[in-house]
């Protein structure tokens, strides 16, 4: 077991590194970015004209003037942050501050200006004094470049994490508690009326995207309910900003437990519903397979009570594939639900990720991606270990 774990950890490190290189590289390869955004605003000249110097300063702020491999190592391990010990390599070029321009004058008199080479290079010596993180390997995710402008990414994540944790935690727990009994019952009573109803509901839940559910729920339980003078749920947010009155319930104080609870109901309901739809089908399927096996028939033939047959003999074995499904739970607990959080304006990590992407806050995006990668790897490891618990026949060597 110890040998197995050690080997797995080594593999995980390698996979995490490759994944980090890929996601970091792709993030910066995407067209657009802060410079294009800046230039898009340069419609009228005049007082707000963007000069080459302005562009240079913005590039420096986003470290875009440092070549990608060095930018990556700075982010990963906080190096290079200046010349090597003893001042070695002070003039080594690690980036380009202003790209060079070359005018090509063709023999027929035609002239063309092209960008080529580097006018002002960035050397290791130039990096000295620039802000640099200790590197994510050492637990420093760096500074938020846009959203918190120069303050730690961790601050940003910590303000959002509690909301995501309790929304996702509650919905996953509820989903498991509801989906497994439904799946089991559907399997045991295959082709019963209950099974048909659940199958239909599950298909609806699995085929419609979450934002459609979200918008329907808002329309139904908030807008239309309020218009009809019925009790309604607040359409979004995690906490209210001022008191409001709901028919039959009375005045709800902003920030009170009731306020938070009412706002929590809809997003949690939608997420739970979608999870149940998928998972209950999964449990039903594997349960059906197990129920038709010989040992179940043997158990029944021996006269074991049906309850025991199902719960002890069948259910435990049918849960093995389901446990695989749970590998992703750790990630979803942390990363939240991108779409649902946006639709319900839930201030969680999912919304943070979308915000950070659209605002070019590279460090925040990378921090979230890398945490997801690591959590997914840990999730897979835990699942592998869980197999041995669910099925003692499996041994990790």
């Amino acid at each position: 077991m110890a040998g197995y774990l050690a080997r797995r950890f080594l593999q995980m490190l390698l996979v995490a590194l490759v994944a980090a290189i890929c996601s970091y590289g792709m993030l910066y390869l995407v067209p657009g970015g802060p410079i294009d955004q800046l230039l898009a605003e340069q419609q009228n000249t005049g007082q707000n004209r963007i000069t080459e110097d302005d562009i240079r300063r913005v590039r420096e702020r986003f470290e875009l003037d440092i070549y990608l491999p060095f930018r990556f190592t700075r982010w990963l391990i906080g190096w290079p942050a200046g010349p090597l010990p003893g001042g070695i390599g002070a003039d080594w070029q690690v980036g380009c501050s202003i790209p060079g321009q070359v005018r090509l004058r063709y023999p027929d008199g035609r002239v063309e200006v092209v960008e080529e080479g580097c006018e002002v290079p960035v050397t290791l010596a130039d990096l000295e004094g620039r802000k640099v993180s200790r590197g994510i390997v050492f637990g420093d995710f760096g500074m938020s470049q846009v959203m918190l402008r120069g303050r730690p990414v961790t601050d940003l994540i910590m303000t959002r994490l509690p909301y995501t944790l309790y929304l996702m935690g509650a919905s996953i727990l509820l989903s498991i508690l509801i989906a497994i009994p439904i799946g089991v019952y559907s399997a045991v009573r295959q082709y019963s009326r209950f099974d048909y109803v659940m199958t239909t509901v599950a298909f609806i839940g699995a085929s419609l995207p979450s934002f459609v559910f979200g918008i329907f729920a808002i329309l139904l339980f908030s807008v239309l309910a309020k218009n009809a003078g019925l009790p309604y749920l607040p359409p979004g947010d995690a906490v209210g900003v001022r008191d409001y009155t709901i028919p039959w319930i009375g005045t709800v104080q902003a920030g009170s437990f009731l306020d938070r609870f009412l706002r929590f109901l809809m997003p949690c309901g939608v997420l739970t519903f979608i999870n149940i739809a998928g998972w209950s089908r999964f449990v039903r399927g594997s349960m059906l397979e197990v129920l038709s096996l010989d040992y179940v028939r043997t158990a029944r033939a021996k006269g074991v009570a049906e309850r025991v047959v199902i719960l002890k003999h069948a259910l435990r074995n049918s849960l093995i594939p389901f446990v695989t499904l749970l590998a992703g739970i750790l990630v979803s607990l942390f990363s939240g639900a991108l779409i649902t959080e946006t639709v319900f304006n839930w201030p969680g990590i999912g919304r943070l990720f979308i915000d950070a992407l659209s605002r070019n806050d590279y460090n925040v995006v990378m921090a979230l991606l890398i945490i997801n990668i690591v959590l997914l790897l840990i999730g897979i490891l835990i699942v592998d270990i869980l197999y041995t618990v669910v099925d003692p026949r499996i041994r990790l060597t």
């Binding site: 080997r7 593999q11 996979v15 490759v18 890929c22 067209p31 657009g32 294009d36 800046l38 419609q43 009228n44 005049g46 007082q47 004209r49 000069t51 110097d53 302005d54 300063r57 913005v58 060079g100 070359v102 005018r103 090509l104 004058r105 063709y106 023999p107 027929d108 008199g109 035609r110 002239v111 063309e112 200006v113 092209v114 959203m147 918190l148 402008r149 120069g150 940003l156 303000t159 959002r160 808002i218 329309l219 807008v223 309020k226 218009n227 607040p234 359409p235 979004g236 947010d237 995690a238 209210g240 900003v241 001022r242 409001y244 639709v343 319900f344 201030p347 919304r351 915000d355 592998d384």
Partner: protein, 645 residues
């Protein structure tokens, strides 16, 4: 061991998928290089290489470069006019804004590059192109394009044009109607709906003039500007490294002279005259077909009085006049959260809407014009507060060159003389205009802690905002200032370098004010903190001291900002005691919150132009809320490229 092998296989497969992608990217980047090489080989001689030190002036003589061959179809003015006559713009408007009344739709129609309500919009001498397909067809016949259903010329070439725009649903909707209208006149349109990142990219699409007909939007401003859009020397070409925004390649000498003159004088009557010339030539030559102003919608609760949406001013500009018929808290909804409350380092609209609550601006800019607020009257030349006199400059003096940079005068520097002519300085003395502006502020403005606004506050703002370490995006304005003389607590005089002619000089020439007396949480005085630290100071970026109608009490990142009435506001405490800004990323959610009464006000930057606008307007008609429709300063148009690659 089994799991190890599978994992290894999986990694190999992932790499196998990624490597071709990376290879493809690498190949793409290398492409221009290849083309350049080919050109050189064809010429069988190496081009002369020199490092660029100055802008290359393109003249007609440098012939065979891209975009100097007249377009076979669009260079004919009759075809361009035919396109204009065949375009039924009210129908285009109706396709995207079906819920507006015909009168409201009519208000969005544009005839020139300035909205009808603009002070510089020409009323006479402009050529208008009402929908008249018969006239359009007749012009096409005259130009030699005949036949049905697609016209062709004598050589049998079809009248077919590429039409490029973004893949935004809004543009696809109206361009579908446009394509049908062109078809009715026998013009074939082949549309390309490109991603905005390509169409507006820094080295693709529009900036490389890679289009025949191209649709996009400009944003109108109180100052019409336009020099980079319509002057002859602003045509992007390979030889000037694609500088300029005259994507049509339109060079009309009279219009070009007029647009430069209009941007080089401070006399408003003269500017109106020059802009009238540009608009006259612009509409006559029909190089760019103005279509319509976009729509801006605002929504407010019925409880709010004196809400004043305007195309060129943020709706919070008159927050001190707001009143509520019921309750004392107003909730505003924003789709985007400001990054910082420091206006110097962020220019997003949401930042401006929020920071209006915390300060007294020098002026407001309602209806494409300026109105004094903090200033005791506009600092115009007519009022005697500003002067624009001729000064003699000689070699070595710092002047403002035509590129908009402060440089020492030396032979070869291009400048604009006092007569408005652009010359290349050779030597000796030259006369240039020098602008001096005195801003006089009203007295009685106080910070929220009761400390009055004073000279040191204005001085501090100049010192910090013009420091390159402060994080300011553009320092162009600072660089144009020769000196500032801070005379008293309410008055200072700004002297600009010779050659600086800011058209909006009268709307506040200073750089604002910071509370120089403020003591920070670490015990330092704000005035003693170096500029480089300001962008991380909580007292500046998160909880700035206010002298406006409200005080920022709390900012919960990602959720809301809470403002309370400022007891020391110079006009007296405002009536609405509390304003909360809530961040709602999704527009559907924002509208739902408006309809359930969770949010009271949604501005245009939150509502956008999608289906939500319709919902809001309909709710307005039913009397549930107040809905406002305003012609946005953003206007759609179709540029016609007069040249071909």
């Amino acid at each position: 061991m089994v799991s190890f092998t599978k994992r290894a296989v999986a990694i190999v497969m992932v790499m196998a998928m990624i490597i071709p992608v990376l290879a493809a990217c690498g190949g793409g980047a290398a492409q221009p290089q290849v083309i350049r090489e080919t050109v050189v080989v064809v010429q069988t001689a190496e081009p002369v290489r020199e490092t660029v030190v100055e802008t290359v002036v393109v003249t007609e003589a440098v012939a065979p470069e891209p975009y100097t061959t007249p377009h076979p179809i669009l260079s004919d003015i009759r075809v361009r006019r035919a396109i204009a006559y065949c375009t039924n713009r009210p129908e285009l408007i109706a396709s995207v804004y079906p819920y507006l009344t015909p009168e409201q739709q009519q208000e969005l129609l544009m005839d020139t590059f300035l909205p009808k309500a603009h002070w510089a919009a020409a009323k006479e001498n402009i050529t208008v192109y009402p929908f008249d397909p018969e006239k359009g067809k007749q012009l096409l016949e005259e130009a030699g394009w005949t036949g049905e259903p697609i016209r062709s010329n004598a050589n049998g070439e079809p009248l077919s044009l590429r039409f490029t725009t973004t893949n935004a649903q809004f543009r696809q909707t109206w361009s579908a109607v446009f394509i049908r209208q062109m078809q009715a006149c026998g013009i074939q349109i082949i549309p390309t709906y490109a991603p905005a990142s390509w169409w507006f990219g820094s080295s693709t699409g529009l900036r490389r003039r890679d289009f025949e007909l191209g649709a996009f939007a400009w944003v109108g401003q109180a100052d019409p500007g336009g020099q980079t859009l319509y002057a002859c020397n602003q045509i992007p070409l390979p030889s000037n490294n694609w500088e300029g925004q005259n994507y049509m390649g339109w060079c009309n000498e009279r219009a070009s002279r007029a647009i430069i003159a209009a941007n080089n004088t401070l006399d408003r009557a003269e500017r109106i005259r020059q802009y009238a010339i540009v608009q006259e030539e612009f509409t006559k030559d029909m190089v760019s077909l103005p279509l319509f102003n976009r729509l801006e919608a605002y929504a407010a609760t019925n409880r709010l009085k004196n809400f004043k949406p305007n195309p060129t001013e943020y709706y919070t500009a008159n927050a001190d006049e707001w009143e509520l018929t019921e309750g004392d808290t107003l909730v505003l909804g924003f789709t985007q959260e400001p990054q910082t409350m420091w206006s110097l380092i962020e220019s997003a609209a949401v930042q401006r809407v929020a920071s209006q609550l915390l300060g007294v601006p020098a002026t407001t800019s309602y209806d494409y014009d300026y109105q004094p607020v903090g200033l005791d009257g506009l600092s115009t030349i007519e009022s005697g507060r500003a002067t624009n006199v001729d000064v003699e400059v000689k070699e070595g003096d710092i002047v403002w060159n035509t590129d908009g940079e402060a440089v020492p005068l030396a032979p070869g520097v291009e400048i604009t003389t006092a007569d408005g002519e652009t010359i290349t300085y050779q030597g000796g003395t030259v006369k240039m205009k020098q602008l001096t502006v005195t801003d006089k502020w009203i007295s009685g403005i106080k910070w929220e802690d009761g400390e009055p606004l004073k000279k040191a506050d204005f001085e501090l703002a100049y010192k910090i905002n013009c420091d390159p370490d402060s994080g300011a995006t553009s320092l162009t304005y600072c660089n144009s200032i020769k000196s500032i003389d801070f005379k008293s607590d309410t008055e200072y005089t700004v002297t600009f370098h010779p050659g600086v002619q800011w058209p909006t000089y009268f709307a506040g020439a200073g750089l604002g004010a910071y509370p120089s007396h403020q003591v920070l949480s670490d015990g330092r005085k704000l005035a003693d903190v170096p500029a480089a630290e300001w962008q991380t100071l909580p007292e500046i970026i998160e909880r700035p001291l206010s002298n406006g109608p409200y005080i920022l009490k709390e900012w919960v990142k990602g959720q809301s900002m809470t403002f309370e009435a400022n007891p020391n506001y110079y006009k007296g405490e405002v009536k609405v005691k509390k304003v909360i800004i809530k961040f709602i990323a999704d527009t559907n959610q924002a509208v739902a919150q408006l309809l359930t009464g969770e949010v009271d006000v949604l501005g245009s930057e939150t509502l956008g132009a999608g289906a939500e606008v319709q919902t809001v307007i309909e709710a307005g008609k039913e009397g549930k809320i107040q809905a406002f429709v305003v012609a946005s300063p953003t206007w759609e148009h179709i540029d016609m490229n007069l040249f071909t690659k």
